[in-house]
Symmetry: C2
Subunit: 592 residues, 2 copies
């Protein structure tokens, strides 16, 4: 896996003075050169292209080694032969951003009008301008449609912009540790960084190159501060704690603590590879990014859905989970197939660059399915992936209680399956019954196999996070054998009634005769349905069918059907005395 | 409450060139002038003095107005007539720190050796040096012992240092939003701030005053960055969101967003009132503070306990709850009476300066009790407050089930009461049975009255945070009618067995005949003991006496006594068939 392979940066002139790039804010820019690298082979149908968008300070050299490199490209742990973005199967493209300083045209490039660096005369850019260059590069490479675009942080913003505005060009969009709108805190940090650069005596209003100087103090202060925000507090503690550099030295204002020495080093090496003007331009690009605020922002993807994978890291405090959830919520509301995971990782925002196993497994599962679907029969005339391949390959026979549930779902419904486990019900409904839908699950072992099957899945806590889903956004909401692990059944049922037109709930019956008998003997009930001891059961709520029917009535939910089931999940042949004889029951509920 | 009252700053020369201050790191400093203010009247016994320690950029002007002030002192919402630190009852002293720049001797003061500012020749300070000046000021004012010392952030660090090293001088210590050791992240932010100041072209190696200049850019960058860390992300979002300053202006690198304009203003006004040298010296004081790392750090307070109130704010990400918990844990292990609260407040670290009601109520309750105890009979020969006044005033009669518990506790025990509600049991044990102890409670309405009664109380989640308490640190741990709301009874019982020598647990019995009867009728049990419906009960665990006795055995706990109780908490006269007839039971458990 970690064999050394070599890559090279190329440059393409994508816009000229005569045919300039038209900028999102108005104005033009030309010539525009873009530096890029490619890995792997484009297949004959040009259907295996993956575009990698880099973050604030990245470059085109994402993977492999350049001759003389001590270290490989910045995302080499993710991209390469046999890796999640497998260069044996995908054709991978990565380009240095417009506005960057590593081969692409940016504010440090020569302004043809003056012959010296643009400096602050370079136009202010928007994420759309970065994407415009990526799109021009694709045309240059003879590619119409991407199998996937993938990016973290500012890279994820480019993916979001691209897929939202041009969904026909991006079948699958992977947006990691990104944001659809910076918070005031995010903007504040960048503002201080820019102030440090622009207040440096060597900045010379951006014409420092002409003066033969560099605003090194300002840029290293900016980098040091940003670096703090890239790591979690715990990560810094684990790495450095309060260790002193030299125990015997008397305290002063130098780099007494290890963390100070580390930061100073980060600030210094950054000067060798990055330009202060690119830093102020590209941070401002992020400040102004706000794609969902525009009218009709999701019109294009409503017309032509994209398969989305959105991921965040639990310790990221730069673009943490609330940023990703905002993206997921908005895409959900636009009817998109969205998969979302919050990945546990101690390393903060930087995690998106690190080989966190659950993160890499998730990307691998998502892309594997995307490729199979694109190569297989699951692509419709518009190029959109419509049928999960795992499903098309034939799902296993449904468990009897799930078959009972499935039979209650009308053909062609949009289904939200809360507590979907490994996705059997949804898989069946999508493959056999022309449904669409989303699973909700929080058990990580189940989540991965659902993603691998190409079923959209949102990882969230049913008790507290159902407000992710819009009013009346699903035809059917299923809550199968899950109510007993919920802490707040009333709030959850109210949310479900808000989200779905029809509700299907299955409930284990605590008043089953076997349980009553055990309690009569003075012990807490246990059974196949309730297999745990009282102190370690995940089941927190115990309810009889008689109780739950009163509960439904109290919430204004009408019982349209009740199907009592045996203790093994089978339909009861004689559905009398259900509260005594049923081990469980399935209800179809409607709103009054 | 908000009447305008006037205050004045005075200055005292506390050390001279002949009798200099001996510094913690070695070396001497003299002369030392300290600026201070006092509010209220010292009583005849000099027993009502409260010392207020300020944070990084505060000053002696804590409350009231100076002539010409538009705004009152920095802690005026807390200190004043009728306020929590009530100047009608307390004599309040606040001093500008050594090393500061608002009347006290600091690095910008004239160095007698050169006649110009000390600059970087000023000695590096430790928190102990700041406290040495406070102590000298007290002697100057004729005060031996403080009723209380109180401070937030760096102010709390001074209180911690003072009370740990000189517990005879501080009866009650209030430590808010502080830390006993900065994390790598804390140090990193300060390192960047110092770099911004010291890299400023106008810093002139600290001799900027002589050059007639000021490192304004560096100091304002430092302040802007620090200001971001003082506020929570949510607070910034609520205050500014993504609002632009002028909607029509085209984007640039100025203060386009409201938050940028606010920060720039914060940086600017700070220049008028603060000195760059003080900033670098006082941030370094914080970096090096680590009182618990010293050998014998808690020896003095073990000998002579101090009443501690430690408080944190849930959105503080500079010195958040983990910092306060570390202090609490260490003091707990030293057998101190410690009260701890985590206060919900949206405003981040800045909350300690704001009139957050639960925070102010807590300080008021703690200080009210401290004063009553000092004025009343509850002070022992050493001056330590030993008997809570609310208790001495005579507690109400105990509820019958609590009386059963109390009778099981040996006289003179150290008792940890998990789920102590309003503290009746502890109050009784302390007043009547010569016990000491700590309550644990999470219901905010109960917490305040416990604090007002002078009973140490740690606000924490029994399910997840019992590792706050040291092995074998209590004689008796009581868990009264609380096991049913615990999610992880096994882990909690294991923790309890680790903490206490003897365990007293009372448990409601789910197998009481009345519950069995109701389930036989097909409904979930409800009663006085289980008064809730299945979907809204805080009770998550249902257990019969038969089950729990097996559970205790499985954990290696020996049942030393079992006292079955009726459904109303009364002792049963005929304790036969307890699993059927008892509504609850109390167990005394020992370790095998």
């Amino acid at each position: 896996m970690d064999s050394v392979w070599f890559t090279q940066t190329q440059t393409a002139r994508l816009f000229t003075a005569e045919e300039p790039l038209r900028l999102a804010q108005g104005g033009e820019l030309g010539p525009v050169d873009i530096a890029y690298e490619t890995y792997g082979e484009l297949n004959a149908e040009a259907s295996n292209a993956v575009f990698v968008c880099h973050a604030l300070t990245g470059d085109a050299h994402a993977a492999g080694y350049h001759a003389g490199d001590k270290r490989p490209g910045w995302w080499d742990n993710l991209i390469g032969p046999g890796k999640p973005v497998d260069t044996n199967r995908f054709f991978v493209v990565c380009a240095n951003l417009l506005g960057g300083c590593q081969g692409s045209t940016g504010p440090a490039s020569a302004n043809p009008a003056t012959g010296r660096a643009y400096g602050l005369d370079f136009p202010l850019l928007m994420v759309a301008d970065l994407v415009a260059c990526h799109r021009a590069l694709l045309r240059h490479l003879g590619i119409d449609t991407l199998l996937a675009a993938i990016g973290g942080s500012l890279g994820g913003m480019q993916v979001l912009e691209w897929a939202l505005r041009h969904p026909g060009e991006v079948r699958n969009a992977v947006v990691v540790a990104a944001s659809s709108e910076l918070t005031a805190q995010n903007i504040a940090f960048s503002a201080v960084a820019r102030k440090a650069i622009m207040a440096d005596e060597n900045f010379h209003h951006g014409q420092y190159a002409a003066a033969g100087e560099n605003p090194d103090n300002g840029l290293s202060i900016a980098r040091m501060m940003a670096h703090i925000t890239y790591l979690s507090e715990d990560a810094l503690t684990v790495k450095f704690g309060r260790e002193l550099r030299e125990k015997d030295r008397s305290p002063g204002f130098g780099t007494d603590f290890q963390v100070e020495s580390y930061l100073a080093h980060q600030g210094e090496v950054f000067l060798e590879r990055f330009d202060a003007l690119s830093y102020i331009y590209l941070t401002r690009v992020m400040d102004y990014f706000d794609p969902f605020s525009e009218p009709g922002a999701t019109d294009a993807v409503r017309e032509r859905p994209v398969n989305w994978l959105v991921a965040s890291f639990d310790t990221d405090w730069r673009f943490g989970t609330p940023h990703s959830r905002r993206i997921v919520r908005t895409l959900e509301r636009a009817g998109q197939p969205v998969t979302f995971r919050e990945i546990p990782s101690p390393w903060g925002h930087d995690s998106f660059l690190l080989p966190v196993p659950r993160y890499h497994d998730t990307i691998r599962a998502f892309l594997d399915h995307a490729l199979e679907a694109a190569l297989g029969e699951g692509v419709d005339a518009r190029g959109a992936v419509v049928t999960p391949v795992g499903v098309a390959a034939g799902p296993k026979a449904l468990r009897e209680d799930l078959q009972i549930l499935a039979d209650l779902v009308p053909d062609g419904s949009r289904v939200l399956d809360l507590g979907c486990h490994d996705g059997d019900l949804l898989s069946h409904l999508i493959a056999r019954r022309n449904c669409t839908g989303t699973g909700v699950e929080i058990d990580p072992s189940a989540v991965l196999s659902v993603i691998r099957r190409g079923i959209p899945l949102v990882e969230l806590d049913i008790d507290f996070q159902l407000d992710e889903f819009d009013d009346d956004s699903y035809d059917v909401v299923v809550l199968s054998r899950t109510i007993q692990v919920i802490r707040r059944p009333q709030e959850v049922l109210e949310q479900i009634a808000r989200i779905g037109s029809r509700i299907i709930v299955s409930v284990p019956n605590f008043a089953w005769w076997g349980h009553r008998l055990r309690l009569l003997r003075g012990r807490m009930p246990m059974s196949k349905e309730l297999p745990y001891k009282w102190y370690n059961t995940p089941n927190l709520r115990f309810v009889s069918l008689a109780d739950i029917e009163l509960f439904f009535a109290g919430l204004g939910l009408k019982i349209e059907r009740r199907i009592p089931m045996g203790i093994d999940g089978e339909a009861l042949r004689h559905p009398f005395g259900a509260n005594l004889f049923a081990g469980a029951a399935t209800y179809v509920l409607g709103k009054r």
